[in-house]
């Protein structure tokens, strides 16, 4: 008797559940929507790419569903032989496009990869949102873009319509932000600047030097290094020191030997001299390369997004993320920007579903919804995306390496 009643309850419960499902309630049975990501998650770039992927994956798993569709996270790796690779990135986007349930992607991580991926995504079209691309030419038209970057915002978009968005502040801000910090806060008057002869490194180094000079400072040595193999920096560092440099600005990334000069400057520069750079050196690899004899607490890196920890309303989500990913290596500068990208994408998909009467939206509808993203409360900032794909109020931070981690020392809000 008891058993029979139990069975009856079970049957009723099943019916109720079924009824709820069909009436379009909370349960997901409309199907699956895939969210892709393309980041360098193996090799030398993995130290920054993998934590970003974890952030995006965490946002998808937290949301779980959107308007009755189950969300599935589909990550791709654009590293070949341990380095981010534009061709591999473009192939990944092609694969994502062939997945009809995939409505948008988070990534890529590197500006060079973005230049190869945007035209592919543009023709599909597929909504792309990058947590970390900072090259200004990806979204904005400058007369030097064709010459230095080899592309323009228009040439990357063959259809003439935009499909690409980002939350990071572009390079026109990162170099000057660090120059201001060096002059105003660190009190540096003379500095030596080198770059890795790549579009990103050259761009930030030039913008840094321009702003530092404008402030009244002197760039006593300016040099580009061929970083296709590891150069010997000793002689140039000595030249910079002899010219009176109080510190070094490296327009480079850890993958282009960005912090090797820090190690090689021992015996030449004072251990408490300053070493500054863009987001590309603000990772664990840089600290490994720098060694232990030069003061690591005198190293500063800018980041193209604001620090999520400064945002009080983000605390719960950050705590939940850190519980799921306890290793300190799993949280890097762009982890929560990756989270925000996925969240903005899910929000846009949700609005696109509403617009399409609760049905699976087209990819163009998702892009249109992305372009109307307004005051989205993310972890790293409140985002409004403009028609070019840029955030209208980008934010940056300056980080210092102290206490065994890159720590935010200043958040900088920029109004475009």
């Amino acid at each position: 008797m008891v058993r029979a009643r139990g069975l009856a309850v079970l049957i009723v419960a099943t019916f109720v559940a079924f009824a709820c499902g069909t009436s379009g309630g909370g349960n997901a049975n409309k199907g699956t929507i895939d969210i892709g990501s393309d980041l360098p998650t193996s090799g030398a770039d993995a130290s920054s790419g993998l934590p970003t992927q974890y952030g995006a994956a965490f946002a998808v798993s937290q949301a779980g569903t959107v308007k009755g569709f189950t969300l599935k996270f589909v990550p791709y790796d654009d590293a070949v032989n341990g380095k981010h690779d534009p061709t591999k990135g473009a192939q990944n986007v092609q694969q994502m496009i062939s997945d009809s349930k995939l409505l948008g992607m988070v990534g890529p991580f590197n500006s060079g990869v973005a230049a190869a991926e945007i035209p592919v995504g543009n023709q599909a079209p597929l909504a792309m949102i990058s947590p970390s691309n900072t090259n200004e030419c990806l979204t904005l038209a400058f007369d030097y873009c064709q010459k230095y970057a080899g592309y323009t915002a228009a040439s990357l978009r063959p259809t003439g319509k935009n499909n690409y968005f980002r939350v990071a502040a572009n390079d026109t801000f990162q170099g000057p932000a660090m120059a201001d910090y060096a002059w105003d806060t660190l009190g540096l008057k003379t500095i030596a600047v080198w770059d890795d002869q790549e579009p990103f490194g050259l761009g930030v180094a030039n913008n840094f030097a321009k702003e530092f000079t404008k402030k009244g400072g002197t760039v006593v040595a300016r040099q580009g290094f061929d970083t296709s193999s590891k150069p010997d920096f000793h002689a140039w560092l000595n030249k910079a020191k002899t010219a009176g440099a109080q510190g070094i600005y490296a327009g480079a990334t850890s993958a282009s030997y960005g912090c090797i000069p820090r190690q090689e400057s021992q015996g030449i520069f004072d251990p408490n001299s300053y070493y500054l750079g863009p987001d590309g050196i603000g990772d664990g690899q840089c600290i490994k390369d720098s060694g232990t004899t030069m003061g690591n607490d005198h190293m500063y890196a800018s980041q193209g997004v604001a620090d999520a920890n400064a945002n009080a309303s983000a605390a719960t989500t950050i705590a939940a993320y850190k519980k799921a990913h306890p290793s300190p290596d799993d949280t890097a500068a762009y982890t929560f920007a990756g989270y925000d990208c996925a969240a903005i994408l899910i929000d846009a998909i949700g609005r696109a579903i509403d617009k399409n009467g609760g049905n699976m939206p087209t990819r163009q509808q998702v892009i249109d919804a992305m372009a109307t993203t307004s005051n989205f409360p993310g972890l790293t900032g409140t985002y409004t995306l403009n028609s070019a794909g840029d955030p209208t109020t980008p934010a940056l931070q300056v980080q210092q390496y102290k206490g065994g981690a890159w720590t935010t020392v200043k958040n900088i809000a920029v109004t475009v």
């Binding site: 150069p231 010997d232 002689a235 090689e264 232990t292 004899t293």
Partner: protein, 347 residues
């Protein structure tokens, strides 16, 4: 064959004109350098520091160049895997440093020098045995094949070694423990030179002197010189050719392995693909000094290092690679025998 070709190049009537042009270019370059060095800011201190960096770098080039030149001298093969045997020296030594109790933060003294000596011995031995294995597998079966075949297997071996190191430790730049003293040695008059650079130079010079003594004094060294001069005649005199060639690869790789350790100690960073570029520089050094000539390789290496540092320190970094590889072309055109290479008399 090669030597006869070189001899014919030198003896042609245009050769003296070519040599004159070459001499003029060298004189102009030297005058420009002296003028720049004399007028640059920083004075003598800066000059000696730059020379220190150049000699340290040059010492590493020289150690690698010796292996190139010995192998070329004996079987006329450019062993492209040699640069990667050099990197392997850094990898192997980094792996065994903890076994010898060498970690960062040790003070420089006898407690550091003795274990370091052990690291040198083990690393040099392992590198040497690997290189002997490479010769046995990739070059010996092709000794009578056309010249191109062992060159291709050499490039293949280079890729293989890089691949193995890449799989072993990944493509990252790795940190090499910082063990050498970290201060400036005063030379009087306010001029200083980095102790680290001096250590590197001294280590390399000791190894090179040992090699020279070995080649000039020992029976095996005599056999090596005999084989290099005329393989068939040496064989008729009862010299075991295979053993002698193996010994050449053994010694060359031991020096490259030592070079790898010195490289790690000096730069405190290493990665799987570093050896390729260093191989190219060392090859240039070997040609500069006269390929096949042992003192020539040492001199060529040191000079290439000094030119590198002077270009970086007094001119611009952008031109350094152009300059160094320009020298390679320049030497091949104007003096194919290199600085110390013998001019073969006309036959």
């Amino acid at each position: 064959m090669v030597q006869r070709f070189r001899a014919s190049l030198i003896s042609t009537p245009t050769a003296s004109l070519i040599n004159l042009v070459g001499l003029a270019i060298v004189v102009v370059a030297l005058v420009a350098t002296v003028q720049r060095v004399a007028t640059a800011p920083g004075g003598a201190t800066y000059f000696f520091q730059t020379m220190g960096f150049g000699l340290a770098l040059g010492a590493i080039f020289a150690l690698v160049a010796l292996g190139y030149t010995m192998v070329y001298g004996i079987i006329e093969l450019i062993n492209f895997a040699h640069g990667d045997v050099f990197t392997l020296g850094a990898f192997i030594s980094a792996a065994i440093l903890p076994i010898f109790g060498l970690t960062e933060g040790r003070t420089f003294g006898i407690g550091l020098i003795l274990p370091l000596l052990g690291v040198f011995l083990v690393t040099m031995l392992v590198c040497a045995l690997i290189n002997v294995g490479i010769e046995r597998v990739a070059y010996r079966p092709l000794r009578h094949a056309p010249r191109l075949a062992p060159l291709i297997t050499a490039i293949g071996m280079s890729a293989l070694l890089e691949g193995v190191m890449n799989v072993w430790r990944g493509p990252f730049t790795l940190h090499y423990p910082d063990l050498l003293p970290e201060y400036q040695i005063p030379l009087g008059g306010g001029v200083t030179i980095a102790a680290k650079a001096v250590t590197v130079i001294v280590l390399a010079v000791v190894l090179m002197v040992a090699l020279t003594v070995f080649v000039n004094r020992s029976t095996l060294g005599k056999a090596m010189r005999a084989t290099a001069q005329d393989r068939d005649a040496a064989q008729l005199m009862g010299i075991d050719i295979n053993r002698t060639i193996s010994a050449t690869f053994f010694i060359g790789a031991a020096l490259a392995g030592a070079g790898g350790i010195i490289y790690g100690l000096y730069y405190n960073s290493y990665s799987a693909f570093d050896g390729f570029t260093y191989g190219l520089y060392a090859f240039t050094a070997a040609v500069f000094g006269g390929i096949g000539n042992i003192p020539g390789a040492a001199l060529g290496g040191l000079l290439i290092g000094v030119i590198y540092a002077i270009s970086d320190g007094y001119f611009t970094v952008a031109w350094t690679q152009v300059l160094v590889f320009g020298i390679l072309i320049f030497v091949l055109v104007f003096r194919p025998t290199g600085l110390l290479g013998m001019r073969v008399p006309e036959k």
